[in-house]
């Protein structure tokens, strides 16, 4: 069986939306946890209808230090509605088996899961639920050996982030441990939507690519995230050489913007997903028609 994440990058670049699991959108009174989780499933359906190839699902943490205001608010809403790690795994378990799912959460959530300190229980539960990959934004390579070892045994990818500040030395360590895809952080800062494609993105992609040619491993797909909000940006990023585009805050802004009208949130989500997926395809076409690589 081909790896579901690898399969998502074959032929075409991947469009990878992110949502905070269990965030129902704005509310006056928090809905039940079951309703919040059901709402997340409905949002995921909308994203898939719009062309999602992989879905990143945030397991909310009380201290999301790498996230900007949009995802912070979504995390707060999810926690108020009763999101827990167990509900997260149930949600993933109930999703269509062929949709690749990447869990994104902070290290303390991984470390504390199951009651005793350590990473094994989280990895076991994730693998059993059908999580294909895990991103832990506050886990640098230095601290990642226990998680990487447990994940390797369980057949789960650990996806690392390469930042604009990442030195060549660190990039080597990141590439050694990273599997699934490399998360190329488009710009410095926290998550949050922006409108332009930064030079940092182009130079990061160029650096990773030239690095890969000297590196003895199968090339990893490179997905760019942090600040992507429009189809045009997605196209530019893919044209610049990315294999995938990750979008979170801009999608959550659609959910937030719809207020308490969930049907509208789902429609807007699907519309933006469609635009982003189309942008990703356009970028691929531009890349084939001429060298734009820097």
């Amino acid at each position: 069986m081909t790896d579901p994440i690898a399969a998502a990058f074959i032929d075409n670049p991947a469009f990878i939306p992110y949502l905070a699991a269990g965030d129902p959108g704005p509310f006056d009174e928090p809905p039940s946890a079951d309703d919040a989780v059901a709402q997340t499933s409905a949002y995921i359906d909308a994203l898939v209808a719009g062309g999602a190839d992989i879905v990143e699902l945030g397991l909310p943490h009380s201290e999301p230090i790498a996230d900007g205001p949009t995802i912070q608010q979504a995390s707060v809403r999810a926690l108020e509605a009763g999101m827990t790690p167990d509900r997260f795994f149930e949600l993933v378990d109930d999703l269509p088996a062929d949709l690749p799912i990447v869990a994104m959460t902070y290290y303390n959530m991984v470390y504390r899961y199951g009651g005793s300190p350590g990473v094994d229980e989280f990895i076991e539960a994730a693998a059993a639920a059908g999580v294909d990959g895990i991103i832990v934004p506050d886990l640098p390579v230095e601290e990642s050996d226990p998680l990487c070892a447990a994940a390797r045994d369980a057949g789960v990818h650990i996806i690392f982030i390469a930042a604009p500040t990442t030195t060549d030395e660190r990039l080597a360590a990141v590439m050694q441990r990273c599997s699934g895809y490399l998360y190329v952080q488009a710009r410095l800062g926290t998550t949050g939507s922006q409108t332009d494609v930064s030079d940092q993105t182009r130079s990061s992609l160029g650096r990773v690519r030239s690095f890969e040619t000297n590196f003895e491993r199968d090339p990893l797909p490179k997905a760019v995230g942090f600040g992507v909000s429009s189809g045009e940006q997605a196209a530019d990023i893919v044209a610049a050489g990315a294999d995938g585009v990750i979008v979170g805050s801009a999608l959550i802004d659609e959910i937030t913007g719809a207020g308490t009208d969930r049907a509208r949130a789902e429609r807007q989500l699907e519309a933006l997903a469609t635009e982003l997926a189309a942008g990703t395809e356009r970028g691929a076409a531009r890349r084939q028609s001429g060298p734009e690589r820097t």
């Binding site: 290290y107 899961y113 640098p140």
Partner: protein, 413 residues
């Protein structure tokens, strides 16, 4: 401590990749300038601490307390450091270090506003632009310090997330740093955060214990039997203890905020205390593996203390390791006992302590007779910043201290 920044199992570097290169750069600067005194950095710092900071601070025999507890009580007077707390020892060190590293801008979090004030004073003194993050709740309960920071020319950004205390302020400062890391140094205010901060802040604060040890030797010719300090993140405690850790005859006592209640409510995610060393469990918060207040899922709890500077759900990893190994005793003092101690020290010794510091004296009241012949207590700061809170909080309670508030009735009703 081993070279990788671990204290036993505690410590480490749990921060986003984007920050790691800056942390590596800081570790290198810490090794060279602080540990090896490259370019005469430590001499330069000492000279600033002397002329600008007012060091060395004295030790003082507390005559009334000595009589009350039947032992020799010595106070290390960090309330006399410029700015009114031990916080300057670290802030000045880090701002100067940032200058040696050619950083252009300083950011810091603050709880009680003492670290924020120490940082803005250091920045004004050394000519560095500075921005401070402070939880909204703390902005409101430590107003004098907000004014002081602004008078120093700094921007103070209130943080509206969560309960609006120190935890949220640290998270928000880390977010700023993730954006600006190439030009900015983050001055963490306690022995918390990723390596090298816990070790570096301890080294800057160890001047407290080093001076006290020397001063006690000169004054009484011996070591104390016990050293007592309050602990929020743990910087005045670690700075007081560090030179005594190897002296096995000296007992070390870290006093945490017991708040209103030592129990925790997992359902609401609220701990009505900040007793991390006493009742916390292992976890990762703000870059290090330490003891934290958390629920069973690993969500960080909202802590509580009448004192803003102790109101934090984490604690320094070295303190966690010292408690784990049995070298350090962790204790708690609740809000009421701390307030009583605040009044007692003000009345009997003429020292108005910070509410944080008052916890150490609350502990002395409960255990003073059992701590040995000579007890050293660190007066981590002065209480000017707390007067509004103390008046309000004392009025709400029936405290065991003669303190007539009727004169304020017009204002507080």
């Amino acid at each position: 401590m081993s070279s990788d920044g671990m204290f036993g199992e505690f410590g480490g570097q749990f921060v986003p990749e984007a920050l790691m290169p800056a942390i590596e750069e800081l570790t290198d600067a810490y090794d060279r300038y602080v540990q090896e005194n490259e370019a005469g950095f430590m001499d330069d710092l000492q000279s600033h601490l002397r002329s600008f900071g007012g060091r060395p601070t004295p030790i003082q025999r507390a005559d009334q307390l000595s009589e009350r507890y039947g032992c020799e009580v010595y106070l290390k007077r960090e309330d006399l450091v410029h700015g009114g707390a031990h916080k300057l020892n670290n802030a000045l060190g880090q701002v100067l270090l940032a200058q040696y590293m050619d950083k252009e801008r300083i950011i810091a979090e603050t709880g009680a506003g003492q670290h924020g004030t120490a940082t803005t004073m250091s920045c004004a003194h050394l000519g560095m632009p500075c921005e401070i993050y402070m939880g909204r709740h703390d902005v409101n309960r430590q107003r004098p310090n907000v004014f002081r920071m602004r008078l120093n020319g700094a921007t103070v950004n209130p943080v509206d997330i969560g309960r609006g205390t120190l935890k949220e302020a640290i998270s928000e400062t880390m977010r700023d740093w993730a954006r600006t890391v190439e030009t900015t140094h983050y001055v963490i205010g306690s022995v918390v955060g990723p390596h090298p901060y816990p070790a570096m802040v301890r080294d800057f604060q160890s001047v407290i214990g080093r001076e006290a040890k020397r001063q006690l030797r000169e004054e009484i010719g011996e070591l104390p039997d016990a050293v007592v300090a309050c602990a929020g993140g743990g910087s005045n405690a670690m700075g007081s203890f560090a030179p005594f850790v190897e002296e096995s005859s000296v007992d070390l006592h870290a006093v945490e905020a017991g708040g209103s209640d030592l129990s925790i409510d997992g359902d609401t995610g609220i701990a009505p205390n900040s007793a991390t060393l006493s009742i916390g469990t292992r976890g990762v918060l703000h870059g290090s593996h330490t003891k934290i207040l958390q629920d069973e899922d690993g969500q960080i709890m909202e802590s509580h203390s009448v004192s803003a500077g102790l109101d934090y759900a984490g604690v320094g990893p070295e303190l966690a390791a010292l408690v784990e190994s049995g070298r350090l005793t962790a204790a708690t003092v609740d809000d009421d006992t701390a307030l009583e101690a605040f009044h007692r020290l003000s009345q009997t010794e003429g020292i108005i302590p910070a509410l944080e510091t008052a916890h150490a004296f609350g502990y002395l009241e409960a255990h003073g007779e059992a701590l040995g012949d000579t007890v050293l207590v660190t007066v981590s700061g002065r209480g000017d910043k707390d007067l509004e809170t103390v008046i309000e909080e004392s009025h709400r309670r029936e405290l065991d201290v003669g303190f007539d508030l009727s004169v304020f009735d017009a204002e507080v009703q």
